[in-house]
């Protein structure tokens, strides 16, 4: 395993007490250079990773972990880190507790007539270790896959064009009606002002009158210019209503020389 840096410098001084016995030098497995200790929790991806390291390092079969030995090593590891005042992540302590529990179960004398369905206390741990190990491998496999911007690079050629067409969005007529309905409903909720709904023909006529007038700011237009004979009476009425509306909004001025004479319309200019 290449988890620990290779450039290991032996420490002479610090002794570690394991089970009350002083160790003159750290067992090689447990040996961590001071620099590595700083990053210990980053070096291992967690308690499972550490445990796998300990197992691998001794070439042990994952299905046949000598729980006692591994547990002791693990706990030594943790003790040592605590001696060095390393803050230990809770996960490591949980694992230590789990190992201790398995160890204690293994030590209990076994009843011969032990019920068959009682699981070996190691089973759960081994299942988790195996599960973790396969994803650890999968992670290495994924890392080894050729990937963009490390192993492969896009091969592209430049395209020189002046203009790219941009299609315009389509709108359904219904969408406009629904939008307007929504606006009105919303407006009615806060409305201080009531929105008037003139017949659209009046609104349309107002626009048309304004459009005609805007063509000639100085000019006067006769009332009858704004509708045609074919439109009949209703045309005249709509135009009249439109003019009243425009007048009210201060958009046009209506002038009549004398009663019953021609009505003239004039845009208001400053």
């Amino acid at each position: 395993m290449e988890n620990l840096p290779d450039n290991v410098v032996p420490i002479q001084q610090p002794l570690v007490l394991v089970d009350g016995k002083p160790y003159q030098e750290l067992p090689e497995d447990l040996y961590i250079p001071p620099d590595a200790l700083e990053v210990f929790l980053e070096t291992f991806e967690g308690p499972l990773d550490l445990l796998l390291y300990l197992i691998k390092h001794q070439n042990l079969d994952i299905l046949d972990i000598p729980v006692l030995k591994i547990t002791e090593q693990y706990i030594e590891y943790i003790d040592m880190m605590q001696n060095l005042r390393m803050e230990l992540a809770a996960e490591y302590l949980v694992m230590a507790a789990m190992l201790a529990e398995i160890k204690s179960k293994m030590l209990l004398p076994r009843q011969v007539e032990e019920s068959a369905d009682e699981e070996d206390p190691r089973a759960e741990l081994i299942r988790r270790l195996q599960e973790y190990e396969r994803f650890k491998r999968a992670a290495d496999d994924i890392d080894a896959l050729p990937r963009l911007y490390r192993d492969n690079y896009l091969a592209t050629a430049e395209l020189v064009v002046d203009k790219i067409d941009k299609p315009l969005p389509d709108v359904e007529l219904d969408a406009i009606l629904i939008a307007f309905q929504d606006v009105l409903k919303r407006a009615e909720k806060f409305s201080h002002h009531q929105i008037q709904r003139e017949p659209l023909s009046v609104r349309e006529r107002m626009s048309r009158i304004l459009a005609t007038l805007s063509g000639d700011a100085e000019g006067f237009f006769a009332f009858h210019c704004f509708f045609t004979m074919e439109e009949g009476k209703s045309g005249a009425v709509v135009t009249f209503l439109a003019l009243l509306e425009l007048c009210k909004e201060g958009l046009v001025e209506i002038v009549q020389g004398e009663p019953l004479s021609e009505v003239w319309v004039k845009p208001i200019v400053e």
Binding site: A157, P167, L210
Partner: protein, 211 residues
């Protein structure tokens, strides 16, 4: 490894034109080709791509692969944007102008309760669906917007009067029971029936006026 292949790979991978010097820089000092050899390899590559739809050209800052111009009309379709959808704000603005015209921006904002972005107005003008038909004689002389003939054409309408009448649809909301009643009749209710059109000169007796 062939110099030409390395240059070809790099020219395709680079996002900018590469100068002869930059191309030399791809190689470690000990096997760095001289300018002459780089140029030679480039000439070979240029010849190889003669018959291809892309070419290796020299620009001010170096060499790059580009698509031959005769293919650009096809290739440009890659960037044809999918038509986006208009925003709700835009549709509402358009609807207010259509139904309440002529309207100033201030009036639209008052009805919508929020500011109308300049972008929306510009988009609608660019589409020729609205235009300024005058200015309101109030301080600031705000532009008055109205819908256009193009707007009517787009929606296949003769006049604004052909816009779906609002009142009847609002009524439907208020009278949810009517649909149920209509089911009893023998005529299938259609939207057309519900929309009593103001143009229809004498309002015919509506069959669904049962309540």
């Amino acid at each position: 490894m062939d110099i030409k292949d390395i240059l070809e790979a790099s020219l395709f991978a680079a996002s900018e034109p590469l100068s002869i010097m930059e191309l030399q820089g791809l190689f470690l000092l000990e096997d760095r080709p001289d300018k002459h050899r780089v140029r030679e390899a480039i000439n070979l590559l240029q010849a190889e791509y003669k018959a291809k739809p892309i070419e290796l050209i020299e620009t001010a800052s170096g060499y790059r692969f580009q698509v031959k111009s005769k293919y650009s009309s096809w290739v440009a379709r890659l960037w044809e944007e999918k038509p986006v959808k208009y925003s709700r704000a835009l549709l509402e603005t358009l609807a207010i102008i259509a139904y309440q015209q002529p309207a100033t921006r201030g009036e639209i904002e008052e009805i919508r309760g929020v500011a109308v972005s300049t972008n929306i107005i510009r988009t609608l003008e660019e589409r020729s669906w609205i235009r300024v038909i005058g200015h309101k004689e109030v301080p600031g002389r705000p532009a008055l917007y109205a819908s256009t003939k193009e707007f009517l054409d787009y929606f296949n309408l003769q006049t604004l009067g052909d816009l779906p009448p609002l009142s009847s649809l609002l009524d439907i909301d208020l009278l949810p029971s009517r649909d149920v009643q209509l089911n009893l009749g023998d005529e299938t209710p259609t939207k057309r029936d519900v929309k009593d059109d103001e143009k229809t000169p004498p309002p015919e007796p509506l069959t669904e006026n049962i309540q």
